[in-house]
Every structure is written in structure tokens, then in C-alpha cells.
């Protein structure tokens, strides 16, 4: 199946919007549970930035796909199989190390993606990218600092951080998959891989951590195939909205 350029950019935009919404939701689950009050504030900051990016992208997607859907129709009105986020962002929070690892791996990817999209032919997408880039630089910085502290902190924190990387590393393969959609719409993620790896390697080396060996490479998020815990996340997120069809809030 080939995807027309116009549809390509719409699907590409929706994938990014879903990444933002889902990762924001996972981070928001930390509220009142973080290791320090400062970190509670910081995680919510990142969650709010991502939610804001997601909302801008849904508005753009509604124009691109011609559906004119509202942001809430995208967020609350679709089922699991219609969400196009990568599987990395839907992974459960786990311990704090797992949350930090997920953020480092994804935000570094997102930073390169937004940089490339600043030059997008779609002016709205380019503008969203420019604004998001300033935010994501902070997210990368935040995740980097914690990776260093945990990697080079205590024996326990080092072990937890290494375990978190091993646990999440397989899900990074999907970030760099190309298909018809990206070929015709956005940025080809394959092209971002080398720069992403160089950044991650630099952080891991300074943090005295090992880059996991590539092995199992699950995939499917971009086609609406998700992990089991994602269904529960959506069920919780959507239930109230869906209980009151047509209501405004």
C-alpha cells in the first residue's frame, strides 16, 4: 500500500501527537509519588510540555486528515488499535530509574526529530517543532542529569539504572523504523539514528553505564499494535469522557 504525501504527513503528525499524549499521561501518574517534591514539580513540567505539544499536533492533524476532529475526539474517542504512538512511551513507569531511562531514550529521539522538523515544508509543523525544541532540550537535560546521578550514585542506583536500560532498550528499535508514511510525509527516523546513538552513548559512558546489546526488537505501535498495559491506561483515561457522550466539560 502506498501512502499519498498528504496522508503521509497527517499520519506522521498523529503518531507524534500520540507519543506526546501517552508519555505525558505516564509522567502525570507520578504526581504526588515522586522521590522529592522538586522532582514532582519537574516531572509534571515535562508532562505539561508534552501535553501541550500533543494538543498542537492534534489540531494540526485534524486539518491535515480533513476530519476536523477535536483534540478530545482524538484522545478520548479512539480505541487502542487506532493509537499510533510507539511502544516505548506507553511502557509503565516502573521505578524512578525506568522513568528516567524512558525519558532519556525518548526525549533524545524527540530532540533530533524536532530539529529536523523545524525545516518541514508544513509551516505549522515547523512552528510547533521550533517551540517544542526549546522544551525538549530541557527534558533531555533533566533526564541526562538523573542518568548521571543514578548511574554514578550508589551501587543500588547503578544496578537499577542499568536494569532499566536493559528493560527498555528493545523498544528503541521502533523509533527508527521507516515506512511509506514517513517516506511521504515527515522526517525519516532512520536518518536520526546515528546522532541519537552518539548522544546516548556519551551520557551512558559518563554515567558509567553500559549500552545494552541489541537483541529482541518489538514493533507495531506505529500500526496500532500495543502492549497489554496500554489498554488499561486508555480505559482509565477515557472512561469518564465516554460515560457522558456529547457532554462538554
Amino acid at each position: 500500500m502506498s501512502v499519498a504525501a498528504h496522508d503521509g504527513i497527517a499520519v506522521f503528525t498523529l503518531r507524534l501527537a500520540d507519543d506526546c499524549l501517552v508519555l505525558s499521561h505516564r509522567l502525570a501518574q507520578w504526581s504526588s509519588r515522586a522521590p522529592t517534591l522538586e522532582e514532582d514539580v519537574a516531572l509534571t513540567n515535562i508532562a505539561l510540555d508534552l501535553l501541550g505539544q500533543g494538543r498542537s499536533l492534534y489540531a494540526l492533524a485534524a486539518g491535515l486528515d480533513g476530519s476536523g476532529r477535536s483534540e478530545d475526539e482524538y484522545a478520548y474517542g479512539r480505541d487502542e488499535r487506532q493509537f499510533l504512538n510507539c511502544q516505548l512511551v506507553e511502557q509503565e513507569n516502573g521505578d524512578f530509574a525506568q522513568t528516567v531511562a524512558r525519558q532519556l531514550l525518548y526525549s533524545t529521539f524527540q530532540q533530533h526529530l524536532w530539529s529536523a522538523l523545524e525545516a518541514s515544508r508544513d509551516e505549522t509543523l515547523a512552528a510547533i517543532a521550533a517551540k517544542a525544541l526549546t522544551e525538549v532540550r530541557y527534558h533531555v537535560d533533566h533526564a541526562t542529569r538523573w542518568t548521571l546521578r543514578l548511574g554514578d550514585g550508589t551501587v543500588e542506583s547503578h544496578e537499577r539504572m542499568q536494569a532499566a536500560l536493559e528493560r527498555l532498550w528493545p523498544y528503541t528499535a521502533e523509533l527508527f523504523e521507516d515506512d511509506d508514511v514517513v517516506a511521504n510525509g515527515g522526517v525519516e527516523p532512520r536518518l536520526l539514528r546515528a546522532a541519537w546513538e552518539a548522544d546516548i552513548d556519551a551520557v551512558l559512558t559518563e554515567a558509567t553505564l553500559q549500552r545494552p546489546e541489541p537483541a529482541w526488537a518489538p514493533s507495531g505501535g506505529r500500526r496500532g499494535i500495543h502492549t497489554e498495559s496500554f489498554g488499561y491506561m486508555l480505559a482509565e483515561m477515557q472512561h469518564l469522557h465516554r460515560c457522558h457522550p456529547g457532554a462538554t466539560w
Binding site: 499524549l21 499521561h25 502525570a28 501518574q29 504526581s31 504526588s32 509519588r33 515522586a34 522521590p35 522529592t36 517534591l37 522538586e38 522532582e39 514532582d40 514539580v41 509534571t44 513540567n45 508532562a47 505539561l48 501535553l51 501541550g52 500533543g54 494538543r55 483534540e71 478530545d72 484522545a75 478520548y76 521505578d95 524512578f96 548521571l148 546521578r149 543514578l150 554514578d152 550514585g153 550508589t154 543500588e156 542506583s157 537499577r160 482509565e236 483515561m237 472512561h239 469518564l240 469522557h241 457522558h244 456529547g246 457532554a247 462538554t248 466539560w249
Partner: protein, 317 residues
């Protein structure tokens, strides 16, 4: 002899500053009881901000629109920020945050009883913003002129944000009372459940309040519990009318002679029960906070170890 004379002089200077409505600053001499009262009050206030994140945080993952979700996340985050300012204000009095958290966990310091009630529906988020933040503002505006400088300054920042929260809560409820029948019912039910606990936020009646007189003399407090409660009722009743909800008090009515609303008596036994640990959520609020604190211990240890390691490296370089 010389020492006691100078203490007397210091006390006179302190009394003069307070009487002139000047601010007492951390390096100024202050009576031990003044310091203790402030630590107790500021710590209780800080604990209330952070325990207060739980009932509303309970709805973050279920917020029914992305706009409401963003507002709620930002609000709960503000409360964490309030906790931070207040712990910092308490630290200027020579205690540290860790110590205060331990006192909270061992039950020797308290937090506002209002947060021991459950948030059962989405409308509770609105009722908390409107009523609980509204009551908090009524309590806190006079604290912006508190005699202790760091506390007064923290309150100025806090009050600005609380008034946003109150408006957002009101607006949330307004959307419900102008929505479907189910939404209207949800809003009314939440107001019914939160009205009386909100009135109890001002503390016991003046006849039973133990700390009021001394705190007034020290200008930590400026109005009595009953005065503030009346002020809150007078402010809130007209808002309820605009919202289109009723308040669950059969004797509530305008008294032209007093130029105030008359209102019913709170269930003070209920307040005593909730304060003493028998509220619907006391146990779970404390368990939640202790669990998060304990689960975060290895992270805080790692951050400290990393900082120490790198301070040593930097010093050697």
C-alpha cells in the same frame, strides 16, 4: 544578670517591632514560643499543601478533556510548589524539611483535615477548587501581613495562585451546572459533600480555639476562626446562586440586621473525629505519602552520593 537584662531588651525590641507591624526576620531575636508556634503552623501548612495533592491528583488520569487535564496537572503542581515555599520558610526557623516530614509521618505534626475526605467524582475537583481553595484564600490573605517575614512573603505568592485555583474550580462547576442533567447532579452532589468540611477548615469555634489569643497578639493571626468563617460564607453564597447550586444548610439566610448571612452549626464532633484520625481517608493519605517517601529513598541517596563524589572531585581539581 547581664544576660537576663539583655533578653528583656530583646523582648522589648521584638514587641515594638510586632506592635509597629514591622516584619520579624530570621536573624532577629524572637521568643522561643513564637518560634515554636511558627514552626508548628508553617509545617502544618506545608504538609497540607502536599497531602492536598492527593485528593485532586486522584482525577488527573481520568480528567474528561485535555484542557481540564492540563489545568488540573498545573494546579496539583502549584500545590507542590506551595509546599516547597513553605518548607523553605520553616527552614529559616532552624528546622529542616526531612525532620518535618518525619514529624508528619509519626503523627506529631498535622495537616488540614479537609484532605481526609475522598474525591468521589469529577465534580469534586471543581468543588475543591471553589470551596477548599476559596476557604484557604480567606484564611491566607491575612497571613500575607503576618509578623514573620518569610512566612508573609511565601503567602503573597501562594495567595495569587490560590485565587487562580478558586476561579478554575468555579469555572469547572459552572460548565457542569450548565451541562447535562447528569453533570448538574454531579455538581450538586459534590457541593453537598464539600460544603460543611470547607466551613470546618477555619477550625473550631472561637470559644474552643486554643491558639487564637496568643497568635493574635503576635500578629501571626489577625482574625478569629469565626470571623473568617463568616467572611467565607458571605463571599460564597452569592457565587452559589450564580452557579445554580444550593448549599446544604436549611438555616442559611441573609440577616439584614447583621448585614451577614446566618448559617447553621458545623458538626464539631465530626471535625474532632477527623482531626484525631477517624476521617474517611486519614490512613490512606498517610500511607500514600509514606510509601512514596520510602520508595524514593534510594533515589535521594543516589543524588547525595553523586553530589558528594563530584564535590570531592571538584575540590581535588
Amino acid at each position: 544578670m547581664a544576660a537576663s537584662l539583655s533578653t528583656e531588651g530583646l523582648q522589648q525590641e521584638f514587641d515594638r517591632l510586632v506592635a509597629d507591624d514591622q516584619r520579624i526576620e530570621p536573624r532577629d531575636w524572637m521568643p522561643d514560643d513564637y518560634r515554636k508556634t511558627l514552626v508548628r503552623q508553617i509545617a502544618q501548612h506545608a504538609h497540607s499543601e502536599i497531602i492536598g495533592m492527593q485528593p485532586e491528583g486522584n482525577w488527573i488520569t481520568r480528567a474528561p478533556s485535555l484542557r481540564r487535564k492540563a489545568i488540573l496537572m498545573a494546579k496539583v503542581q502549584d500545590e507542590a510548589g506551595h509546599g516547597l515555599y513553605l518548607y523553605c520558610a520553616a527552614e529559616t526557623l532552624g528546622v529542616d524539611r526531612g525532620e518535618l516530614i518525619d514529624l508528619l509521618h509519626s503523627g506529631r505534626q498535622k495537616y488540614s483535615s479537609i484532605f481526609n475526605y475522598p474525591t468521589l467524582t469529577w465534580a469534586d475537583v471543581g468543588a475543591i477548587g471553589w470551596l477548599v481553595d476559596g476557604a484557604a484564600i480567606t484564611n491566607q490573605i491575612p497571613l500575607c501581613r503576618c509578623s514573620y517575614g518569610p512566612y508573609a512573603r511565601a503567602m503573597v505568592r501562594v495567595c495569587k495562585e490560590e485565587s487562580f485555583h478558586q476561579r478554575q474550580g468555579y469555572e469547572l462547576l459552572y460548565a457542569l451546572t450548565h451541562g447535562t442533567d447528569a453533570q448538574r447532579a454531579m455538581a450538586q452532589d459534590a457541593v453537598n459533600r464539600w460544603w460543611w468540611p470547607s466551613l470546618m477548615m477555619f477550625g473550631p469555634p472561637d470559644t474552643e480555639s486554643t491558639h487564637t489569643a496568643q497568635s493574635m497578639a503576635w500578629r501571626i493571626k489577625r482574625f478569629s476562626n469565626d470571623e473568617l468563617r463568616q467572611r467565607f460564607v458571605d463571599m460564597t453564597v452569592p457565587q452559589a446562586e450564580v452557579l445554580g447550586v444550593t448549599l446544604p444548610d436549611p438555616v442559611l439566610r441573609w440577616n439584614e440586621d447583621r448585614r451577614h448571612y446566618d448559617f447553621g452549626e458545623c458538626d464539631w464532633d465530626e471535625l474532632r473525629r477527623v482531626v484525631s484520625g477517624e476521617g474517611p481517608c486519614n490512613r490512606q493519605r498517610m500511607e500514600h505519602h509514606i510509601a512514596a517517601h520510602d520508595e524514593g529513598a534510594w533515589v535521594r541517596e543516589a543524588a547525595a552520593a553523586y553530589a558528594a563524589k563530584h564535590a570531592a572531585v571538584d575540590a581535588a581539581a
